[in-house]
């Protein structure tokens, strides 16, 4: 047996969520006294590949086939399944990223494996059982899922497992595969990625604002604070519904669920559907002019005040803190 981790890259670079997944997979390999192999698909430099060793991968399989430069769900799933068979992997780990969500279920079918998406902690392995905790009901609860299949697939929620550096090194091997034409039916025409912005699903800090900000013209303050903190921006549903902000920023039960270290909510009331998607944030700060806003009930820190007065002061305070740090 062994553990296989799919090391996802973005534009040839591994992201923090990938290192989290490698660290997580390493801990699972240790739980089972076995080795960890990583598989990378696409153009990634050999230094970048070898650096996966720092997080616990002993071997890195690198797939550089030209047809697999861009993410093609079906073909990538076939390659990872092949690698899993080659390595006799009984546990396959991925990041629960947008791509990971497309891969894990296909791998599950190919490998006749149970799949846990959105895992939040290490599996509990006792009495021959293998149980993984995942978020359910859009963050309103957790489910303990027992995987009963021989092969098991786990997709890890970003920001839920700490990156662990070791002094290990990894051997990088070329893994030659030839994708089937029937796996290459989708064609990527265009990729639009804003590289200057922190991506919301894996951001450590998120600055979010709601209808209390009155209109899109007032988001300058929100963006400035986010930029100072190295944070991603988010919003409540009515804000994206009104077109003040893009849909990709909408968090909550019907938007994306996030679990950053710090979530700053400005002018958001804290409706149950909003809280569902953000309640697994480690620390929550709420700024609202209404002391009775429900959001204060789940906040760690709060300021009762007008965002138009508090936010400029908060920006100054963060600037002062950064200047002194």
């Amino acid at each position: 047996m062994s553990v296989l981790i799919y090391a996802e890259n973005a534009d040839g670079k591994f992201k923090k969520s990938t290192f989290e997944a490698v660290s997580y997979a390493k801990a699972i390999a240790d739980q089972n006294n076995t080795g960890l192999t990583a598989i990378s698909i696409g153009d990634v430099s050999s230094d970048e590949l070898a650096a996966l060793g720092k997080y616990g991968a002993q071997k890195v399989l690198s797939v550089t086939n030209d047809k697999l430069k861009n993410f093609v769900n079906q073909a990538y799933a076939s390659v990872i399944a092949e690698a899993a068979k080659k390595e006799a992997a009984t546990i396959v780990v991925l990041s629960n990223s947008f791509s990971g969500r497309g891969l894990a279920p296909r791998l599950g079918v190919k490998l006749e494996a149970g799949v846990v998406d959105g895992a939040v902690v290490l599996p509990i392995q006792t009495d021959g059982k293998f149980v993984v905790k995942k978020t359910a009901f859009s963050g309103k609860a957790f489910a303990m899922v027992e995987l009963t299949s021989a092969v098991k697939i786990i997709a890890l929620t970003p920001n839920s497992y700490k990156v662990v550096e070791t002094d290990g090194t990894a051997n990088v091997e070329e893994f030659a595969v030839e994708p089937k034409a029937s796996d290459l039916k989708e064609i990527v025409k265009e990729i639009m990625r804003s590289t200057d912005k922190v991506s919301l699903p894996d951001a450590e800090i998120v600055v979010s604002a709601g209808r209390g900000l009155k209109g899109p013209e007032n988001w300058g303050m929100v963006e400035e604070l986010a930029e100072l903190l190295g944070a991603a921006t988010a919003c409540s549903k009515p804000v994206s519904d009104s077109g003040w902000r893009p849909h990709s920023e909408h968090v909550g039960q019907t938007g994306i669920s996030i679990s950053p270290n710090l979530y700053i909510a400005i002018g958001i009331s804290g409706a149950i559907q909003h809280l569902a998607g953000v309640s697994s944030s480690k620390v929550i700060v709420v700024i609202n002019k209404d002391a009775d806003a429900p959001f204060f009930k789940v906040a760690d820190y709060g300021i009762v005040g007008d965002a138009f007065e508090v936010l400029p002061k908060l920006i100054e305070a963060v600037k002062a803190y950064k200047a002194s740090a």
Binding site: G102, V131, S138, V145, L147, T148, E186, D300, K313
Partner: protein, 246 residues
């Protein structure tokens, strides 16, 4: 004539407070209002738009017990042509996808739409599993969907951006916001929903690979620490020294 299949899940209304019974092993459905999964409403709305004016038909399918029929009828009222219910308790995404795939093998479709995820189990799994079971492409989270003849153009969500893809029919995809605005049933829709065909199909045998053994609710947070509005420096200091998040 384009035939679209829309998979609909019957989920607790978003305002539901989630609690459990039987030693935290069962979801407490007592007093819970069930609705069409919000993302599935988006899939349904887009399917109706794409087939509008006699260009095709929309079948909705649900794996569920008889208690889900009001939700299925709602989908018919919104504008689906007909409906199928696979008569079983949905054990997990694999079980659901397997049952739907078996149905589709005997009743082919040009396109299969699901929601990006169900708001109860949040797996985002059914679309990709259907793709694999039927050996067709799948795109898990799409924000835009257009069809031109035998080919569709979709926008896929990626971290910090999006990708535009072309994909030949048939395929499976999970829809998110942006694909369409959910539709509200009108009076005529509600009247006609009662007489639209809803066929009930018995499930096939399938191995299971996972079981939910229990649930937990998140630990309550300690009381909020309030900081005065003119003392933002104190807040920054607390975030640095006490919470250690900046």
């Amino acid at each position: 004539m384009m035939k679209i299949l829309v998979c609909i899940s019957n989920v607790p209304d978003t305002t539901t407070k989630i609690t459990f019974t039987d030693n935290n092993t069962q979801f407490n459905t007592n007093g819970v209002q069930f609705v069409i999964n919000p993302y599935d409403e988006i899939a349904l709305a887009r399917a109706i738009e794409l087939t509008d004016g006699g260009k095709g038909s929309v079948t909705v399918i649900n794996v569920g017990e008889a208690s889900t029929e009001p939700t299925i009828r709602k989908a018919l009222a919104i504008g689906a042509t007909d409906a199928v219910r696979i008569n079983a308790k949905p054990h997990d995404a694999w079980y659901v996808a397997y049952q739907i795939a078996e149905y589709v093998k005997n009743n082919p479709f040009d396109m299969i739409l699901t929601g990006r995820e169900s708001i109860d189990y949040n797996g985002s799994k059914v679309a990709a599993m259907l793709g694999e079971l039927l050996n067709i492409p799948s795109v898990s989270i799409i924000k835009k969907l257009d069809v031109d003849g035998e080919q569709a153009t979709v926008e896929r969500e990626i971290e910090g951006g999006k990708e535009v893809l072309t994909i030949p029919l048939p395929f499976a995809a999970g829809t998110a916001e942006g694909v369409a605005e959910p539709k509200i049933p009108n009076m005529r829709g509600i009247m006609s929903a009662r007489t639209k065909p809803l066929s009930v199909v018995e499930p096939v045998e399938v191995k299971t690979f996972s079981d939910i053994i229990s649930y937990e609710t998140p630990a309550p947070r300690s009381q909020v620490k309030l900081v005065a509005p003119d003392n933002t420096a104190e807040l920054v200091d607390l975030l640095h020294t006490q919470a250690r998040v900046i």
